[in-house]
């Protein structure tokens, strides 16, 4: 490591602290908000910490035990919506859908990418451009036709409809990234294998995919995260709470008159945990995959 002057160190740490504040302070505020009684959050002048923090909001989400402040009944009943209790289920739905999208991306994406990177076939350039350009269309514009297609195939309120749509939305990017990666692999390996009579399928399975595995996993996880956070199509296609994905539930909670801010903050915190868990492997595979070749300068 090069030696660094004190000034340089100060700049680096100053920058790091600013960045950490910008990125993480909102999350800290969300977590803080989730454990304080709402009356404190709403106080003016602000007295957030007048009462001790508690975990009752989380308890309600997972067990249904109603927090003390909500236990009044009758006309003065504090409103509470059991919709926040849909959060764990919504996380599950999101994970199911996003995992399937990831697998499809890994499978179909590497197939297509290898073909585009290494095999000449009729219509290659045109179809590659077509796949990439498909993402230029604003999603709002095609929401209704998408919906009609899904409905034609009986996919309203189904996992597979979401999986199909998210695959369509993520595959172009996956294909691009993996095409770039495969193209970066030494051609000599392919050629040597071909001389020995290997088919394209075998080269892909035995040589290209093992070599590209980190990038493939990275691209898959990238697709996972996009699928995990998509809102518009999930809003239209899921019609019952047992099928709704996390963004839809959180979106509905934010507009739900019965949901207090601390309950909303707790829901956001819970909903963010899977992302947090995934962040480490995504970083390992995606960013390293990028670094190790695919999009090198």
């Amino acid at each position: 490591m090069r030696k660094r002057s004190p000034l340089r160190r100060a700049v680096i740490y100053g920058g790091a602290i600013l960045l950490a504040l910008f990125w993480f302070a909102p999350f800290v505020l969300v977590v803080v908000g989730s454990v304080l009684p709402e009356v404190n959050l709403l106080s003016y002048p602000p007295t957030w910490f007048a009462d001790p923090p508690n975990l009752q909001t989380y308890q309600y989400i997972f067990t249904g035990k109603i927090p003390e402040s909500f236990e009044q009944r009758g006309a003065l009943r504090s409103m509470i919506s059991n919709e926040v209790r849909d959060v764990p289920r919504a996380i599950f739905n999101s994970i199911v859908v996003a995992t399937a999208v990831m697998l499809i991306n890994v499978l179909l994406g590497s197939l297509a990418a290898y073909a585009y990177a290494r095999i000449r076939f009729p219509g290659r350039a045109a179809s590659f451009n077509f796949v990439l350009m498909s993402r230029l269309i604003p999603t709002v514009a095609i929401a209704v036709p998408y919906y009609l297609i899904v409905q034609r195939f009986g996919g309203i309120n189904s996992y597979w409809a979401l999986i199909a749509i998210y695959s369509v939305l993520t595959l172009p990017f996956t294909t691009l990234v993996l095409t770039l990666y495969f193209r970066g692999l030494p051609v000599e390996i392919d050629e040597a294998a071909r001389v020995e009579g290997a088919s394209s399928w075998r080269i892909l399975r035995d040589i290209a995919i093992p070599l590209a595995l980190p990038s493939i996993i990275g691209a898959g996880l990238f697709a996972f995260m996009l699928a995990y956070s998509e809102f518009l199509f999930a809003l239209f296609i899921t019609t019952t709470s047992d099928r709704r994905t996390l963004p839809v539930i959180l979106g509905a909670l934010s507009a739900n008159t019965d949901v207090t801010w601390n309950m909303l903050m707790a829901s956001i915190t819970v909903g963010t945990i899977p992302t947090l868990i995934l962040a480490i492997p995504v970083w390992r595979f995606m960013v390293r995959g990028l670094t190790s070749g695919a999009v090198r300068g």
Partner: protein
């Protein structure tokens, strides 16, 4: 660029992979032909078929339908008929279109340069070793991975006029005596939308630029240092050329994102106050689902798609030749 050039360029022997990645910009990202004369193989088409089929189903019909609708009055309330380009005229001459178009352009013009500059600085920072670097790298994926509506929701709680965290914090520390109406003052609301957009987009920009940075061989820096280059000299002679292709990609991508940004505005300001933060995409939604005018909604969508395409072509043309294809490993 054929194999010969590639082999010759792999001069430092540091990596076995070739560097030229993104095809010539002018051929709009079409795949390169690394193996010059090789036989046409049908299995290639077979391998690409599933992706192609899936994308085609969900592209050709929807786009065709959108274009068809954009030429008609399509509403459950008004009688359907062909009107040619009238929808386009109505949309462009409509009440809010001009303001929204200006706001959108202005939004992109401000956010994209900020993102690129801060993105470069962030990537440079993360490329240094310091305590907490790993935490910062991994943690920064969070803002990007959140649904945009949730990101907006989190920031809404911070900016909210009456009891937002920012006002509470500023008040508690005595910095202000009266709460500031962040979201209902036009200039502040615009700033809020920009901040949230940058918050969600900066991680991706930084990651991609960091990836590009890490691909620059240390030897180049060492050589520059031997030549006596200072910090600025090293940046302009080594770093900048190294990340230039990625800068181009990131700029294109973020321009597109800024152009089609919808969720954040929808959740944070609903386009207000007034029309201060109303973007063009928002009207696609309003025309179709709120005003039940699918013809005008489609016309708007087609316009946005054309504008995006045109913008990208202009940007691609504006890039100096060779910016995307590097002669270096």
């Amino acid at each position: 660029m054929g194999r010969d050039g590639k082999t010759a360029r792999r001069r430092d022997g540091k990596t076995s992979r070739e560097s030229e990645v993104v095809g010539r910009a002018s051929s709009s990202l079409s795949p390169h032909h690394p193996m010059t004369p090789s036989p046409l193989r049908l299995e290639g088409a077979l391998m690409a078929a599933p992706v192609l089929l899936l994308v085609a189903i969900f592209t050709i019909y929807p786009v065709g339908r959108a274009i068809y609708q954009s030429l008609r009055i399509e509403s459950p309330i008004f009688p359907a008929r062909f009107v040619g380009l009238k929808n386009y005229q109505d949309v462009i001459g409509g009440l809010f279109f001009k303001e929204a178009a200006i706001t959108t352009l202005w939004f992109a013009a401000i956010t994209v340069p900020i993102l690129v500059v801060i993105g470069v600085l962030t990537a440079l920072l993360l490329n240094e070793s310091f305590v907490g670097n790993a935490l910062l790298r991994v943690g920064m994926l969070l803002p990007w991975a959140l649904p945009a509506t949730v990101a907006a929701l989190i920031w809404k709680w911070i900016f909210l006029d009456s009891w937002g965290a920012l006002n509470a914090g500023l008040y508690a520390t005595g910095l202000i005596d009266n709460y500031i109406p962040w979201l209902t003052t036009p200039s502040l609301a615009r700033m809020a939308v920009i901040v949230v957009f940058i918050w969600t987009q900066l991680p991706l920009v930084a990651i991609f630029l960091l990836a590009a940075l890490q691909a620059i061989p240390n030897e180049l820096y060492d050589a520059a240092a031997i030549d006596g280059a200072g910090v600025a000299g090293r940046f302009w002679n080594v770093t900048f050329p190294g990340i230039r292709p990625m800068l181009v990609i990131v700029t294109l991508y973020e321009t597109l994102m800024a152009f089609t940004n919808f969720d954040i505005v929808y959740a944070l300001t609903q386009g207000g106050p007034g029309t201060a933060t109303t973007m063009v995409t928002y009207f696609t939604w309003v025309e179709s689902f709120k005003k039940l005018d699918f013809g005008k909604g489609s016309a708007l969508a087609v316009l946005i798609a054309i504008a995006s395409l045109a913008l990208i072509l202009v940007l691609v043309r504006a890039i100096p030749k060779g910016a995307l294809v590097e002669e270096r490993t």
